[in-house]
Symmetry: C2
Subunit: 379 residues, 2 copies
């Protein structure tokens, strides 16, 4: 069953007073309009959301969102796989095409309603309650362990991480829907940033964002503006770094990438543009290696040579990524697909990658406990 | 793609000191053993869970459960649709057979770690945060509104509700895995029960339970012990009663039932045994009407005549249902499928329904915001 993305929509990412249903509705209507589709043309809804319970006291979000279209009585549910919720929801939509012709995927998150330590603790629920949370091993700390291990093994430097941050902030300045649109970040800002979890400093970390993104996935090819889903894969791993054999990459990412490449019949060198899960700068380095864009330890070569910039050999996160585009957790994996669809249609405006024909989205939950990889385009 | 349940397993429902991963593992190993399948024979895992975040501070539960099988790197995710999480997860497994030959579904919940008002509030997250939660319209209150409306329109009496409670407690006395196994409940106990939300009294309400249930769903027919999934459907509705046209039934249940019957090619009169979502006694009455076992307002006729008892015309909840079998929320929809598989194989022991060939499972989220209906058997 061939799958196509026939419409995409998203809100701006960043703090807002809008509620989750309002954000979701804005992205959904945007996507339906983009698809030139009436709500009656939707056969099922998949909702991606991570912290609706702890942050907003709202579970059963699929039914809340069903209320946007009263009387349709659509099949719907909510999917949660920590920060990979959105990518997993897109995968579910592809699977669901065996029964439903057109599936609406909407990812949504509100982070700004909870602040400080409470928010850190809620995000920490993506880690094991015993092996991670009770040990104080929150997500900056987890990724700091990755950064230290990667540095020790491959000589990755703070300067490499800074280059990722500078690039993604520069890209976000070209994307009006990015959390840090029009926020100039220079080396001096990075140098002045406080440590978060050594070696990671403030500008190595993505922000927490409110936002929503939607994609209409269909088995119907609707012509030139439809973008084919060439490959779709999800994989998972044990949740805690404590139980992993390696701390310089994610087995779930490598496994999902392998499956997606095989299904799509393409290789890493065929990818023209990538949206990768750069929740921390080190995560972008690790992603490039897990996805085969560089051999283990060699992503930094491409980064130093500017090959991951817009216009480089393999542009990574041209819309700003999570780092500067923002991370509205449940929405992120869907937003990555939205960004790729814009690139592959040639509708990405100031951050368009020239001649983009194959795009890859890489969405990670926790510290590699779940990973979704999608390949789009190919025509 | 024909779907079969090739193995089932469940823990006893009820309070326990076991953790969610321990409960899940017990049910999974039970189901794999029942299916005579090694973990390597599983291609994907769907986890159903409702309150892991608010009750247990554990989200990303699919990755925790992936840790039971380190190194397999299976596709996995968590599904949440309030109390319909389990039924929705079974539906997702059916959809996923388009890509994965064998899908393990596991539902799990821990309720006993949180008590009193905090637990009531957490369960309340299945209702709209504005229209229900802030109004104090918790779930007993919602179902009390249904009971009052049903009574006013159709003359349903307290005695009718008591008959449901007495039947399900009597059935649970025959099921060693039921929450209230060996707990004798007599009319005098019901009479002495305090009001919860008038007219509903204590024995009109299901307990909150810890527990897990697992089912192995496959496209491979493995012979006589495989049970075919004849029909699988999910539907949803606006979340709040405040926005519903009718308070005497659930449109999502009627819609899901219609789709499932059509797919299975059977009618309500063909159903030999039903597991319905009796979170409150009135819910069983409403379910029977939504599922077409009785015309609107006439379920009570069957109940009064004993036709829903084991040995009656349409035995309902022979294992005790949610009311007395227990309600480990995320596990419930999967447990219903486990119970039906036992009935259809003739392995239900003391509560076996004679010559059961077609079984129906009906799993409701919130107050009818989501509903999953499955039809099993047929050979």
């Amino acid at each position: 069953m061939t799958a196509y993305v026939i419409g995409v929509g998203k809100t701006r990412f960043g703090p807002t007073s809008k509620t989750m249903p309002q954000l979701a509705q804005e992205a959904i209507l945007d996507a339906l309009s983009d698809a030139d589709l009436a709500p009656e043309g939707v056969d099922a809804i998949v909702v991606a959301n991570f912290l609706g319970g702890p942050n907003e006291r709202q579970l059963h979000l699929n039914s809340v969102i069903a209320g946007i279209f009263p009387g349709l009585n659509l099949p719907s549910w909510r999917t949660e796989a920590a920060c990979a919720s959105g990518g997993v929801a897109v995968h579910q939509a592809v699977l669901a095409l065996s029964r439903y012709q057109t599936v609406l995927v909407v990812g949504v998150e509100r982070m700004s309603s909870v602040v400080g330590l409470e928010l850190t603790r809620n995000i920490g629920m993506a880690g094991d309650v015993i092996f991670d949370q009770l040990e104080g091993l929150n997500f900056p700390a987890n990724y700091a362990l990755l950064a230290r291990t990667h540095a020790a093994r491959y000589g990755t430097t703070l300067r490499d991480l800074e280059l990722v941050s500078l690039k993604n902030h520069a890209n976000a300045n070209l994307n009006p829907k990015a959390h840090f649109y029009l926020k100039k970040v220079r080396q001096a800002d990075i140098d002045a940033g406080p440590p978060v979890a050594s070696p990671l400093r403030l500008y190595d970390c993505c922000p927490v964002s409110d936002g929503a993104a939607a994609a209409v996935v269909s088995s119907r090819d609707r012509g030139a503006r439809s973008v084919r889903i060439m490959g779709s894969a999800v994989s998972s791993d044990v949740i805690s770094l404590a139980h992993r054999a390696s701390l310089t990459g994610f087995a779930a990412a490598r496994d999902a990438a392998k499956r997606a490449y095989e299904e799509a019949g393409v290789q890493p060198s065929d990818v023209d543009v990538a949206e990768v899960h750069d929740c921390f700068t080190i995560a972008e380095v690790v992603a490039m290696e897990d996805l085969g864009f560089a051999a283990p330890g060699e992503a930094t070569v491409l980064i130093r040579e500017g090959e991951t910039n817009i216009g480089g050999r393999i542009p990574v996160n041209p819309g700003g990524g999570l780092k500067a585009g923002g991370h509205a957790i449940g929405a992120t994996g869907v937003s990555q697909v939205c960004e790729l669809v814009k690139q592959l249609r040639g509708e990405a405006g100031d951050y368009q990658v020239a001649d983009a024909r194959v795009g890859l989205a890489h969405n990670v939950g926790g510290v590699g406990g779940t990973c979704a990889v999608h390949l789009l385009g190919g025509r």
